[in-house]
Amino acid sequence: MFCSLSLQEKHVHDKLVPHSLLQKDFVPFLLNFLREQTSQILTNGPSTPAKTPNSKALRSTASHGSQKTGSDRRGSNTAGSCSSRMQLFSQRTAASTCSRDTSFPSSSASSGSSAFSESSFSSPCSDFPIIRQNFGCSPVFTHNEKRSSQRANLGIFLVPTPDVQSVRRGRRRGNSSANATGRQVARDLGRSLTEEDDGKGDSSSLSGGRRKRTEVGPTSANSPPDHLNLNNLEEFPPMSAASGLTNKSKPSRRINPTPVSAERPLSKPKMCFTSTPVSQSPAAWFPSGTNLDTFAAIQEGNVTSVTGSSLQEEREMLKKERYKLLQQTSPGGLSLDPNTPTTPNYSWSSSLATDSQLVTCADVSKVSCKKQLENLAQLYSSCIAENLVPNIFLELFFVLQLLTSKGTTTLEDGENDLEFSQGCKDAMERQHFRNVHNCVYFAVRVLDCQFAIISRLEKGTLKLLAENERIASFSPGFHESLMKAYESSTAKVSLLLPSSVQFVSFQPETDNRSNFPSDRAFHIFKKQRDIFYELLREWEDNREKPGWDFEIVLGNRIRAMMNHLTAAYNHSHFARLFQKQLIQMCKGPIGGGTSWGDTPDQDVLNMLGSDNLNRLKRLQERFVVPQSIRGPCPPPAFPGCQQFFRDFILSAGSYQFNQHLMDSLCLKILELDGLTFVEHEPSDGEADMDEQDEKKHFMVALMTLRLLGKFLGFLVFLPYRTVEPPSRDLQESAVALRNQTLPVLDVLKLLRRSILNRRTILTIPWVVEFLSLVDHFAPFLDYYGRVFSLLLQLYRGLVLSEEKEMSFLNKLLILAVLGWLFQVPSVPEELFFTSEIRWEGLTRDTVTSAQALDSVPLVDQQLLYTCCPYLGELRKLLASFVAGSGSKNGGFIRKITPTATESLAPKPSITQQKLQVELEQAFFHNQPPSLQRTVEFVAERVGSNCVKHIKATLVAELVKRAEVMLQDKVKEEDANHSKLLDEVCAQLYEEGAQALHKGREFCRLKGPEAVRVLLPEETTAAVLSSAEDIAVGLATEKACTWLSTNITALIKREVRTTFNRMLRVQGPSLSSEDAQGERKGCPSDCQHHAPFPSQIINEIKDVLCIAVGPRDENEGIPYVQLECLLKRLSQTLRCRKFMCPTSEQQLARCTVELASLLVSDRVPIQGLKPQSQKRPERQRGKKNAVYGLLKSLLSVWKEDFWIPVPVQLMFSRKNVGYLAEVEQWEWDLFLFMLHGLVEHGLMENAEIERCLHSLQELLWPSDFLKELEMISRIFISEHHAAEPRTRPCELVRQPRGTVAAQS
């Protein structure tokens, strides 16, 4: 039966073929059956003994109800008498409408409702009055038409025959008697089951136990069955309550269904993945000898389904109510919030507290109906093993819940007799899982069968399983294998891998001006980059703060920025930046949860060595990684930093941006999806090494792809996303509309290609992320329908086993992500069990190309758990059991052993190492990506070549020597060859140690060469040498690691081969040379000790200040100081080291100003040497001093300045004005200056003449103007006379006298 579904087994027994449709209903039924059966034990607590209604009463109601119409039924339901509580996996078939269903629904439905109450309404009922009122009936009418057939199936499948040994045989038998379907058969079977159990006297029958319970329970009297309060947590505690989950826990979606289906009965049944198409003719189900009774039941069901539609109105109301509820529970109103509708944290701790004291000690001797349990376990295991369940890990979670279930002790013993006497129970009604012992037995059996999967879980989970007492006592053999698996497991998983680089580096090739259409666009983008990071930082700082709202605080700023973007057509640039930053921050396992703010104090971290660092990391993990059990199927979320990017997209609300981003994401996805990973040479000895690299590359690519896939999915389906699932009325038109458009990314094509090329391990995980964000209608589109059915087909086909085609863990990862996808809320349940799967012929490339990844063991536990963090729920569940229910703490306890601080003593070398690694990352980050690729490539190849080289030289040499040694010895004694071999090898090992040395040498020699050849010519020396060194380091590390661990083995292997051959033969025998190298500016002997330009400017400024005034009476500047200043000015100008154009210009300008002030005698010079009393002498002395200063200024201007000095400023109106303001005009100083300028070649005569001329045109006092004219005339005449050049001051003296005389 099962085999026919799996792709592997194509041979189906002829007789089974007709039942191919039946089989599809079997699995969901089985799953529901198990949930129903066990729900009791999982919820029962001693304080609430009366939670199941009296079976007798129920049954009678039910049998009466068989004649009722739908509306009658509703009435009774509302009253609660029928208590058709929801099924765990909500049934497609409504129990109440099947006339023949007399007893079954009572138990199943009642237990189901407890799950219902837990999932989202575990709060006191008063909160949700409408729900309470209605939920009872709606599921009943949901899929009433299929119930009977389903039941018939179980009847078939549970045929118990004394000699049933193998499940398969049992199944066949069941099928062969399938024509005798229905109640009758089931009852017979039930009887036979009971009879069989007779001998052991441990048969447990439902009603007996139930009656007993009602008798025992004190509350039973107070709550009569027809007044069931389904929202009462005491009576209907959530299923996982007793399994040790605390009130914080978030149960998995399917195990603990939300009442969704209850409120949208017409549309898809939320809880139910079991539906078969209504259109299916009943006749098709039972082609031969069909029982009429069954038909009748089916027809009735169909009739009532019509009646059921009359409930439409009520359902609409319910729908509305539900959305209200959803809004309440998810404050953001966004269905994608990380914490979408959760179980409100109402406590059932009171019952738990008592529970925990009475945790049943599971006892293997108290297990009843072992055989049936065994059969069930086999059956169930086969379903899991053959991928017939929608989510393997969900089932494992369920089984672990059973394993860790806590039953009551009081009721366990001594009830068998009563049950036994009940006699005629049918198989359905029998409560096989009524006590903890049975549950544990079943769980252990199933786990045992799933050992292949379990043994590959991470080490912590294995440890908990291996240490589980129940497993140890129930199956010592299994326990032992677990212990072994645990001990040999290396699958340690750490979920925290913070990356140290958090920004997108600026790359001129893509980011500089030439990449933008205009300057404006370039500058706008410059700003945008900064705004983007500003927003990011603000978000980082504030997101944790209460009341901080992304949209309120950042929304408008984002939109403003987006507007600029639109204006400048910069979308593609920004989309690229956005995507790069996204990858940078979020490719880590928990969405880049470790942000800057969250990282522990760096100083503390630095104090720890890397060992301790890891320990600390693990410790941190325990605090950071969410502790609550959320079940193995959390809805898609955007954890950590991903939240920022999601909110950014939402707040921006920019169509253009989204489109560009999608383009960008698609491109990147296609690029990564087609990535070729280093081809490997599995035959080679050093494959190990490459494999490790390959794994790393693969992991990075996979994680990035998943991230991109998720965001692409988010964007693609964003326009169609609705807060509430739309009603199915709209579906048809919406689907019709949307079928017309092309998908943004052809995932179907990619999927098919990846199957063909055997690269599904890379493709499926990101496709799953992409699809997990589908809106509610997308799966119904033709295109995505095909995608889903292809995925389903793949899922079914991927039976877990060791084989060459695909490694086990690869498969496990694919199964885990697909299983998760099938549980995503917007993916319809019927999808999994639909009969309309369009099976495609899946052809796989038979030739293993380098592209094929599926066969390469790329996935390890680290990757598995990183991709599917929800697998950690298994461990949490087990841990919570160990912690002894932990209810008092409100969470399960994790033991943290404190470490003494001494052990954390700083180890500088390790800190340094860490820093080095970070430096290396940082180095690569700002370089073009090709640099790192080159270095890594070189390192890898050189490392690999190094090993080969060592093999070819050193090892070969050693082997040769060994050959000689062996040859001698073999002749001597031809006894023990292996001992001889060992001896010889031992001698060689020591020399083998040279390999490390030689390897290092090799890498040091070859690495730089290769890097140099491969990097662009233009690479600067420093970068080149760093790159070379890193390449050498990596290559050496690689080679040496491999050599040190493998060299002895290698030598031995080689020697042995040689030896064997010999026997056979015998038997038959930088440095930075930046521009700074030569300072062309400074004199060759310059020591650069000259004063700084700034200092000189400052000093000149001070002088100017005093000269310009205002100043005190006696304030002045010592002559020596001025002299010295000019000398230092000259020095400063000669040493060019610190000079910059601005400084020089300012110096030039200042000195000209100073000269002007000197010329007009405005500088109060003090401390002149001959302090003569006589005024004229003093005047002369001063004048001489000024001459001296002017002379040095002239020479500095001529010799030391590199730029033209603006001496023309001397003739500016302002500066000549200084002269005019002085009462007694000092013309000889001025004339001296004029001559000096000419003499030093600073100005031409003509130029000076022109300046003087233009001065005269300005508005001056008339007498000054006269003087000015005079001076010009003197200057011009002197100049034209071209007298022999004597000392300028002497020259000047003459005219000055004239001027004075004239005035």
């Binding site: 500089n512 820093l915 700002n926 610190f1138 302002k1214 303001e1221």
Partner: protein
């Protein structure tokens, strides 16, 4: 020199009576006529400077305002910034000789603002950059300087980008910015917004050297990647490539 914020505040309070506030501006506008009157009496007396002192206003800013006003009245149009700046830089360009003198007096006497001070600041900044470059060369750290980066088309450029990053006091840095000033709250915030974060956004974490000290409390972004120092760091770890020996 590192100051704690408290220390700095004390100093600032002690010094801080020169507040270029809006109020003093208004006062100034009212007094503009006084300038004309006073100048008429004695063109050489430092009227403008005294005026500035009287209203607690930086002289060069005062000069700028008066000059603006002057040109506006003279030519009837609002003068361009470039024109004003060039006139402040070279008062000889001012058409009114008296005003030119007055303005020059103001700019020369101003210790905080004005073209002269600006060029001194610029010179100091440049000198420290040169010093830093020296130190980098001395330490054998290779870098790309601003000019090279501009040539490559970078949109924002720190003084030095290290071609091979180093770790300073355990923090990785990619760039170094030299600031020849004291890092007070106000200027640091402005720098962060206009420069440092922009550098971070493009090149990652980096080091800022405030050669004239800074308020210790401002050095709070170390973890995020902006490190402050008041001297060239001594604790530098370079990428050593001795991994083979590890």
């Amino acid at each position: 020199m590192k100051l704690s914020k408290a220390q700095y505040d004390e100093i600032a309070q002690f010094l801080g009576h020169v507040q270029p506030t809006r109020q003093s501006l208004r006062k100034l506008q009212e007094r503009f006529p006084r300038y004309l009157n006073a100048v008429k009496k004695n063109a050489a007396s430092p009227v403008l400077l005294e005026l500035a002192n009287e209203v607690d206003f930086a002289p060069s800013l005062m000069a700028r305002i008066v000059l603006e006003r002057f040109l506006q009245e003279e030519e009837g149009i609002i003068p361009s910034k470039t024109l004003i700046n060039s006139m402040l830089r070279d008062p000889s360009l001012i058409p009114d000789g008296v005003l030119a003198n007055q303005v020059y007096q103001c700019t020369v006497n101003d210790c905080c603002y004005g073209p002269l001070v600006d060029s001194i600041k610029h010179a100091i900044g440049h000198e420290h950059e040169v010093l830093l470059r020296e130190m980098l060369l001395e330490k054998n750290l290779s870098f790309l300087a601003e000019e090279q980066l501009r040539a490559k088309g970078y949109d924002k450029t720190p003084d030095f980008i290290l071609e091979v990053p180093v770790a300073v006091e355990g923090h990785i840095i990619h760039w170094i910015e030299s600031k020849a000033s004291f890092g007070d709250e106000c200027s640091h915030q402005a720098y962060l917004h206009d420069q440092f974060w922009s550098y971070w956004n493009r090149f990652g974490p980096g080091l800022v050297i405030y050669w004239y000290g800074f308020i210790e409390e401002l050095d709070c972004h170390r973890e995020r990647g902006i490190l402050l120092k008041d001297c060239f760091p001594t604790d530098i770890v370079t990428l050593r490539h001795n991994m083979a020996q590890r």
